[in-house]
């Protein structure tokens, strides 16, 4: 394999990986605070693309405004899901919340199938995202630049929120011990609501960027990226934001490189990713950056 081809494949991997990374941060964030894997995250991701799509297509708003509104709507959806589906189960066993998360996910997907139909739609993209640049013989799309940049910005913003603001302090406290925090007079429900707003906004951003790279949206588009990002979050150490980014890049590169080096294994691309998940769960369940925690059973 030539160097340019290898470099191109590497960039392909980084490109997919950065999208997984962005999505993985959302999983990790909610898990870090609530200890809940929010399976509806990937569907909020899908909703983000549809919100932006309708803002652009139906209300003829400019692209940036559509995306902002889309992301804001995602936050609202995230908060509603928390309020309606998860809050009533706050004191129920964890498995109930997990099952509810799967239920919410199915509900959103099927609602999408009924309302907008299963046939894919083309997603309008700004030139900034779709322009292609040639670097060292490799062709790289605008979106490939912007996703890592946006991810790092989001990461910085997250660190700021978590470590420098009052709500961030409350989030950290809730993640440590919910009951004690409540006793200290913190409105725990509100803190969790904010967390969901933040996580769902990230899903919205991730969805729009995904659609910029693969401009084909359908109600089931979130499923596979969601699973892959979830895998990335586990590989990086679920609950750890930097780990989620790292995991995203690892998963993206792994799935591109297996197709590049072993074309015969193309069909096993997804299986390969989930094999990584299984291996990690067996060998290093805490993930790369996670702390090994002992849970009382």
């Amino acid at each position: 394999m030539q160097w340019t081809a290898l470099f191109q494949q590497f960039m392909n991997g980084v490109s997919v990986g950065s999208l997984y990374a962005l999505l993985a941060i959302g999983y990790t964030l909610v898990y870090g605070i609530l200890g809940l894997i929010n399976f509806a995250h990937s569907d909020v991701f899908m909703l983000g693309t549809y919100f932006a799509f309708f803002m652009i297509g139906v209300f003829l708003l400019p692209w940036w405004l559509s995306v902002l509104i889309g992301v804001a709507l995602c936050s609202l959806v995230g908060m509603s899901i928390e309020r309606v589906a998860y809050r009533p189960l706050r004191n129920a066993p964890r498995i109930s919340a997990l099952i509810t998360a799967v239920g919410v996910s199915f509900f959103i997907e099927n609602l999408g199938l009924v309302t907008v139909g299963a046939r894919p739609k083309g997603f309008p993209r700004p030139d900034l995202m779709k322009n292609v640049y040639t670097i060292l013989g490799a062709r790289i799309q605008g979106v490939t630049f912007w996703v890592p940049v946006i991810s790092v910005l989001i990461l910085l913003a997250l660190f700021y929120i978590v470590y420098r603001t009052k709500i961030g302090m409350a989030m950290r406290a809730v993640s440590r011990d919910m009951e004690t925090t409540r006793l200290m007079g913190v409105d725990v429900d509100r803190v969790i609501l904010y967390t969901f707003a933040l996580g769902s906004a990230l899903a919205g951003v991730g969805g729009v960027l995904w659609a910029c790279k693969y401009p084909q949206i359908n109600p089931l588009m979130g499923i596979f990226p969601g699973w892959k990002a979830f895998t990335a979050a586990v590989v990086g150490g679920i609950g750890n934001v930097v780990g989620a980014m790292l995991g995203g890049f690892i998963i993206g590169l792994a799935e591109i490189l297996i197709v590049a080096f072993f074309p015969g294994l193309t069909g096993y691309r997804d299986a390969f990713v989930f094999t990584i998940l299984i291996i990690f769960l067996l060998v290093k369940p805490g993930g790369l950056m996670g702390e090994a925690t002992k849970e009382k059973v």
Binding site: G122, T134, R139, I256, L257, G267
Partner: protein, 373 residues
Amino acid sequence: MKVFVVLLLCAGLLLGGVALAAEEVIRIGANLEMTGAVAAYGQMIWEGINLIREIVGDAVAGKKVELVLVDNKSDPVEAANATTRLIDKEGVVAIIGPAITKNMLAAAPICEEKQIPIISATATNPLVTQGRKFVFRACFTDPYQGAAAAKFAFEDLKAKTAAILSDIAQDYCVALGNYFKEAFEKQGGKVVVEQHCKTGDQDFSAQLTTIINANPDLIYVPNYYTEIALICRQARDLGYEGIILSADGADAPELFDVGGDAVEGLYHTAAWDATKGLTEIGQKYIDLYRQKFGKDPNMFGALGADAYLILLNAIERAGSIDSAKIRDAMEDTKDLDVVTGRVTIENGDPIKPVVVRKVENKRFVVVKALAVE
């Protein structure tokens, strides 16, 4: 006792009536997917059959044709049951068979055994008619379409090297890829690299990088439109400037929506073109469809109409409602004008032109009608 006599009389009258009617009408079965997973196909075919009946009428050889529709619920077991019921209970002389290969393969052996001709509108797999005498189809087969694409690539597009990127999750795509390769290399071309993807994939950059690195004149992508649009998009983004050729899976308006300018110049092989009829009856069909439904007709309906026309023509030439004679007449179909073109039947499969279309300004434009020997 009185009641018994009346009943007997009634029964006699009824039987007499049926026998009388049987002399005047020809019953043809339609075993279609009206509900279930692929109901859209069955419904479109049924729509096409009814539309063509409005054009050519419902009488042949001095008798009235009566269609008996049975829903096979998109299920092979139901398709087999429906076939038996049509033959044994409804007394049909021929059947227009299920839309998809799986259901057709369930119905075909029954017709073969009971010696009733059956014709599918759209089952493309070669196995459907292989080694059978009473089984026909109106659409072309995967090898036929693959070979047509190879011929067009080599002769008209002057491609000497080609790459294939096919969907391993679909038999249809794998078959087209394989038959294209076989025919392309037989003509002297060379398939330099073969790559695969899977239905639902969104990222093809790894495969396309490998393909572009091999620098082929043409990339053959015999997939469905969802994948084709993204493949074109990413191939162009990765800097590929050569020709992209596809098959009839590309035929959907969403292709332009998603592919945008990346699908401009894409070629694809198709069963027919809905904008311009190749035959007089085809044009009539298109006009009536537009008038009735206010949009361009679809391929499934057109092939359903073809199946009906082939059957009707065979009954007329057989001049009899004897199933074996109808079968022989069907096999002898030569240069018959149907909705999608001029068709000749050989070993149960149609020989007819493959239409090649090109995308220009977000529309399919017919490039040529290609005859394959």
